[in-house]
């Protein structure tokens, strides 16, 4: 039963991943990628990582819908309607050759490498194992992830906004309330 579920999820992940670059409507492309991620989350749950699988599902739904907003905004034919065919691609043959070569290399490595034996039994509570290691031996990883996320947040806002302090508060930085296109909810 679990083997059947594995095959269903694996074929779903690969097929919907392939459909991402074949469909014409941008909304359908985003939903295809979302389906691929949901299948991947299901596979992670099958491997015994319940918390990580559900977190992958949770985060990927949010990320894909935010990505859908940007896809619709920045693609020229978001609904795939109209006479212009969705052929916004270049170097198709060389890209296909490179990716086929990559698949052959990775697949050969996966099949031919002498994988070691399993190093021990699975823990009773993988979530607890993850929490304990993040708070202990892998605390450095956690700190770096936190800093990277903070830097990404600040960097993304700075890159995307083309207004600064002087646009908001005037030339002498004294104008209150600030000159924003939409007022916020708490009157800052």
């Amino acid at each position: 039963m679990i083997v059947a579920l594995f095959w269903v999820l694996a074929v779903l992940a690969a097929a919907s991943g392939f459909l991402v670059f074949r469909l014409a409507s941008m909304a359908r492309v985003t939903i295809a990628l979302l389906v691929s991620f949901l299948a991947a989350g299901g596979l992670v749950i099958l491997l015994g990582l319940a918390y990580l699988g559900v977190v992958v599902i949770l985060m990927m739904v949010i990320e894909m819908i935010i990505m859908a907003v940007f896809m619709i905004a920045y693609m020229m034919q978001p609904a795939g309607l109209g006479s212009m065919a969705m052929s916004m691609s270049h170097n198709q043959r060389s890209a296909a050759a490179i990716s086929a070569a990559a698949f052959v290399l990775l697949g050969a490595g996966a099949l031919l490498a002498p994988w070691p034996h399993r190093a021990g039994p699975a823990p009773g509570n993988p979530t607890f194992q993850l929490g304990k290691t993040i708070m202990g031996p892998q605390m450095l990883t956690m700190i770096i992830l936190g800093l990277v996320l903070l830097a990404a947040m600040v960097g993304a806002v700075v890159l995307a906004l083309n207004r600064g302090r002087y646009d908001r508060f005037g030339d002498d930085l004294k104008q209150r309330p600030p000159a924003d296109p939409a007022r916020g909810g708490i009157g800052r």
């Binding site: 559900v54 949770l58 979530t127 916020g184 909810g185």
Partner: protein, 325 residues
């Protein structure tokens, strides 16, 4: 970490047989019907009409009317996406309700039930946006985008409120969250998390003060292009989501089936109905708020508030080895 669990352990070990999963949507629909009927009764009373039995059964009549209604077809609609988005709303509510224990009986023994509830409720983001997109209509699309904006505002405070409840119980398992409230309910010493959770229940079912995606200024927004069974899917989905949220508030913040004298499942039902009554009553008292008024509030006020609440919970759990008030 010594929770006095003995008197609860014997109650929370009952696990339902696998076929009981099919009962979950039925029970959820029952509670949702009660909430919709109460809403109808309050509307009739506010309008000054007579309260007959037909008013209380109005949701059933509405279901019958919509089931036999005709679907609206718009030009160049995205039929696959539209239908799947509409179906996904009630399905998400039913999946989220799978982890809610009924009294002392749990259908799912998932070790990450709290995160599962969050993940299933997030599916509404995808469902409502896709339902707004698929109709190929301007007002419908604007309604779908409004739901995404609302989602960005409510999601992080909701996640942090759920983290508060899980941290208080030191587990993501819903049964252990119930067991950890053997002495004091979480709603008593995590009031900020409870209040944020109830507001988020309104937000993810887009009813009440957060019905901005289906607002009257958009001729119904996401519901503008819906009729017949499509409309039933979304309308029923909203009430099912509200009910699932109210049902989850009981094991997370109100002690599950704990209570004197009566059996546990009666207490679960009573508490769920009480939360639903509060939500349905308050829905008519609060005006619909625009997203640009609460988005900044959610990010700048509610997120620090829930983080401080989580800090308080963590300090209590660490220093006292448990709350025994």
């Amino acid at each position: 970490m010594n929770w006095p669990r003995q008197e609860w352990e014997r109650l929370m070990v009952a696990n339902a047989p696998p076929w009981a999963v099919l009962l979950v949507p039925v029970i959820l629909a029952g509670f949702a019907f009660a909430a919709a009927a109460a809403d109808g009764i309050l509307t009739a009373r506010a309008a000054g009409g007579r309260l007959t039995g037909a008013v209380a059964a109005a949701p059933l009549a509405e279901v019958a009317r919509l089931l036999t209604g005709q679907r609206r077809v718009t030009p160049a609609e995205d039929r696959v996406l539209w239908r799947s988005g509409l179906i996904a709303v009630p399905v998400a509510a039913a999946l989220a309700a799978v982890v809610i224990p009924f009294g002392s009986v749990t259908v799912s023994r998932m070790s990450v039930g709290v995160v599962w509830f969050n993940a299933m409720e997030v599916l509404t983001w995808a469902a409502v946006w896709v339902a707004g997109w698929g109709a190929n209509g301007t007002l419908s699309l604007v309604g779908g985008y409004r739901f995404v904006a609302q989602g960005l505002a409510y999601q992080l405070p909701l996640m942090l409120a759920l983290i508060c409840a899980a941290a208080g119980a030191q587990s993501l398992n819903v049964a252990q969250v119930v067991t950890a409230q053997a002495h004091v309910w979480f709603a008593v010493w995590m009031p900020a998390a409870f209040a944020v959770y109830l507001a988020a229940v309104y937000a993810f079912s887009f009813l009440g003060p957060f019905s901005y995606p289906a607002g009257r200024d958009l001729a119904g927004g996401v519901m503008a292009e819906l009729s017949g069974p499509d409309r039933l899917m979304l309308q029923a989905g909203r009430w099912l989501l509200l009910t699932a949220g109210a049902g989850m508030a009981v094991p997370l913040f109100l002690g599950g089936g704990a209570g004197p004298l009566l059996p546990a499942w009666v207490w679960s039902a009573v508490k769920t109905l009480a939360v639903l009554a509060v939500l349905v009553w308050a829905r008519r008292r609060l005006p619909t708020i625009r997203a640009d008024r609460y988005a900044e509030l959610a990010w700048v006020v509610l997120i620090p508030l829930t983080i401080v609440q989580a800090l308080v919970v963590s300090l209590v759990v660490l220093t006292r080895g448990g709350v025994q008030l």
